[in-house]
C-alpha cells in the first residue's frame, strides 16, 4: 500500500464518526497500538520537545524502509503518533520526505498541528522526515 492509500484508509475509518467524542475514543484506542519505543531508547536526543506533552521517537532503516517506534506521556498525542506511524512505517525514506500527510486535516485533527497547541506534533512530523532524509544521505 502506498502512503496515499494508507491515508485514504484512515480517512474512511474516521468517516463513520460524526461525534468528536467517538473520534477521540478511537484515537485513544489507537494509542494503545503504538509500537512503543524501548525504554533504553528514551534518551534526550530522541525526545521531541513540545510545550505540553513529551514525545520520544526512534527511527531505523531496515531493508531500505523506515521503521519507527515512539511514546508520549499524553494519550491523545500517542494516538495521533500511532496514526502517523501507521502511514509512514515501512516506507522508503524519499517517499516519507515528500509526503504531505493530508489525512490529518481530512479527519479533523488539524487543530493539533496549530502552533498554539504546542503538543509536539508539528515537530514530530518534522523529525520523522528529518530522520528519513538522514538515512538518504
Amino acid at each position: 500500500m502506498t502512503i496515499q492509500e494508507k491515508e485514504q484508509d484512515i480517512i474512511d475509518e474516521f468517516s463513520i464518526y460524526d461525534d468528536w467524542m467517538d473520534k477521540y475514543e478511537y484515537i485513544i484506542e489507537l494509542g494503545k497500538e503504538l509500537p512503543i519505543i524501548a525504554e533504553e531508547l528514551k534518551t534526550d536526543n530522541r525526545l521531541i520537545k513540545g510545550c505540553q506533552s513529551r514525545v520520544w521517537l526512534h527511527a531505523d532503516l531496515e531493508d531500505g524502509k523506515m521503521v519507527f517506534s515512539a511514546d508520549s506521556d499524553a494519550i491523545i498525542t500517542k494516538g495521533i503518533i500511532a496514526l502517523l506511524i501507521r502511514v509512514l512505517n515501512n516506507e522508503k525514506p524519499e517517499d516519507i520526505a515528500k509526503s504531505d500527510l493530508k489525512f490529518i486535516k481530512e479527519i479533523g485533527l488539524q487543530e493539533h498541528l496549530s502552533p498554539t497547541r504546542s503538543n509536539g506534533l508539528v515537530s514530530m512530523v518534522k523529525k520523522m522526515k528529518m530522520e528519513s532524509l538522514k538515512k538518504l544521505s
Binding site: W20, Y24, E25, C51, Q52, S53, I76
Partner: protein, 409 residues
C-alpha cells in the same frame, strides 16, 4: 461613583463574549488568569476612538490631538485614583506587566552595584524572574529566592533571614497566577523597608480580583497589565513613587521623553513622559481608562465575595473526583485552581474540555520553578473572573466526569 449591587447575570450582559460558541457548545471561559474578556463599554471606547477621535497626543494644536491627549491623560487620572497613587505622573503607561518590570530592572537597576542583592519568591511568573536574572548578570548582583511550603505559601521567616543591608530590591507577586495564593505583601513591604530595600509588586493577577491601594501598601513599584482587568491587550501600567522615578534614568530614548535635543546634549522630559518614549498605545490607554471606569462601577468587595464563592464551590465539587490532586492550597487564595487527575495528562484533559466548549489552561503557566518544586510537568488550571457562574462549574464537573474515565482506560 455610585456602586451597583453585584449581580452576576446583570454583569454577564455587559460581556458580549457570553454569546460565543466553541465546537458547537456555549463557551465556558475559565482561562481568566491568562486574559479576561472585555465589557461592551471597553470595546465601544476603542471603536469610538478609532472612528472619531484618532490623533497623536502631546503634540498637535489641532482639536483632534487635544481631544485625544485629554482622553489619554484623563485615563491616567482614573487609574491613579483607583489604585490610590498620590500623583497622576506616578502612573507610567507601558506595554504590560512584563514591560513594567523590565523598566524597573533596567532603570532602577542602574543604581545597583556588585554584591547587591535582589529578592524574589519561589512562586514568581517567568516575567518576574528573568529580568532580575538579567540585571544580576549585568551588575554582578545576587538573586535570592523566598521559599514556599507545600501548600504554596511563602515562608516569611525565611524571607526575614534573607533580608540584609545588601538587599536593594524585593520583587514579589501579589497573587500567584499558577497557585492562586494571595501573598501578605503588606508584611513583605514593611520588612523590606526596615532594611532600606525597595519593593516591586507584580500585580498582574490582583486588581481584577481585589482592592489595591498602593499608598496603603506603601509599595515602591506596582506593575500590572490592562488585558487581565477587562482592558485591551498591549497596554499596562508601572506605578512608581515619584522620588524613585525621578531618580531613575530613562529606559528608552525617543520622541515625547525629551525636553530639549541637540547633537551635543539632550535633556529629558518630566514624569511620566520620561518613561514613555515614542507614540504610545493611545487607544489602549484610553480603553484601559474605560476598564477602570467599569471596575469603579462595581463594589469590589462583592466581586471578591462572588469569586470566593466560585472558588469554594469548585474546590468542593472537584475534591470528589477520584485521584485529584490540588496544587496551591494556601489559606488565603483566590480565583485559581490548579490540579491534576491521577492517570491522566493535562494536555489530554484540556483538549477534550475544549471539545466541550470549556476553555482552561494546561501546562506550566510560565512558572516552571513552581512545577519543578512539585515535580510535575504542568497542571490543569481553572481561573475565574467576575462573570463566571456556579452553573458553569457544574458543567465543568459533568465534562470531567465524562472525560476522565475515557482517558484512564
Amino acid at each position: 461613583m455610585e456602586k451597583v449591587a453585584f449581580n452576576v447575570q446583570e454583569i454577564r450582559k455587559e460581556f458580549p463574549f457570553i454569546n460565543r460558541k466553541v465546537n458547537g457548545k456555549k463557551l465556558i471561559y475559565f482561562d481568566n488568569g491568562a486574559t479576561s474578556q472585555k465589557p461592551q463599554s471597553v470595546i465601544n471606547r476603542l471603536t469610538n476612538f478609532y472612528t472619531n477621535e484618532n490623533a497623536n497626543i502631546h503634540r498637535g494644536v489641532h482639536t483632534l490631538s487635544q481631544e485625544a491627549t485629554s482622553a489619554y491623560e484623563e485615563s491616567r487620572i482614573n487609574i491613579q485614583q483607583y489604585i490610590g497613587a498620590k500623583h497622576s505622573h506616578e502612573i507610567i503607561f507601558t506595554k504590560g506587566t512584563t514591560d513594567s518590570i523590565n523598566i524597573v530592572a533596567f532603570s532602577f537597576g542602574e543604581h545597583l552595584k556588585e554584591g547587591d542583592e535582589v529578592i524574589i519568591s519561589a512562586m514568581e511568573h517567568h516575567s518576574n524572574i528573568v529580568p532580575w536574572q538579567m540585571l544580576c548578570e549585568r551588575k554582578g548582583c545576587r538573586l535570592r529566592v523566598i521559599p514556599m511550603n507545600q501548600a504554596g505559601e511563602l515562608l516569611l521567616d525565611e524571607y526575614s533571614n534573607l533580608l540584609s543591608s545588601k538587599t536593594k530590591l524585593v520583587a514579589v507577586t501579589h497573587i500567584s497566577n499558577a497557585l492562586g495564593t494571595i501573598n501578605d505583601v503588606k508584611t513583605i513591604i514593611e520588612k523590606a523597608h526596615q532594611v532600606g530595600a525597595k519593593v516591586l509588586i507584580d500585580g498582574a493577577q490582583s486588581i481584577q480580583h481585589t482592592k489595591v491601594d498602593v499608598e496603603a501598601l506603601d509599595c515602591d513599584f506596582y506593575a500590572f497589565s490592562g488585558h487581565k482587568l477587562f482592558g485591551p491587550t498591549g497596554v499596562g501600567v508601572l506605578y512608581g513613587k515619584e522620588e524613585l522615578l525621578n531618580d531613575m534614568p530613562p529606559y528608552q530614548g525617543g520622541g515625547d521623553m525629551i525636553s530639549e535635543v541637540s547633537f551635543e546634549r539632550t535633556t529629558y522630559n518630566t514624569l511620566p513622559h520620561k518613561f514613555e518614549a515614542g507614540t504610545p498605545h493611545i487607544a489602549g490607554g484610553i480603553g484601559l481608562g474605560e476598564a477602570f471606569h467599569f471596575l469603579n462601577s462595581l463594589d469590589i468587595d462583592q466581586v471578591e465575595a462572588h469569586e470566593k464563592e466560585l472558588l469554594d464551590y469548585a474546590t468542593m465539587r472537584l475534591k470528589k473526583i477520584e485521584g485529584i490532586k490540588f496544587y496551591g492550597e494556601a489559606k488565603n487564595k483566590t480565583s485559581v485552581i490548579s490540579f491534576l487527575v491521577e492517570g491522566t495528562h493535562p494536555y489530554d484533559v484540556g483538549t477534550l474540555l475544549d471539545k466541550m466548549g470549556i476553555a482552561v489552561r494546561t501546562g506550566h503557566h510560565c512558572t516552571q520553578p513552581i512545577m519543578n518544586f512539585y515535580n510535575i510537568p504542568g497542571t490543569i488550571r481553572v481561573s475565574f473572573a467576575l462573570y463566571n457562574t456556579k452553573e458553569e462549574i457544574d458543567l465543568l464537573i459533568t465534562a470531567l466526569d465524562r472525560i476522565i474515565p475515557m482517558l484512564k482506560n
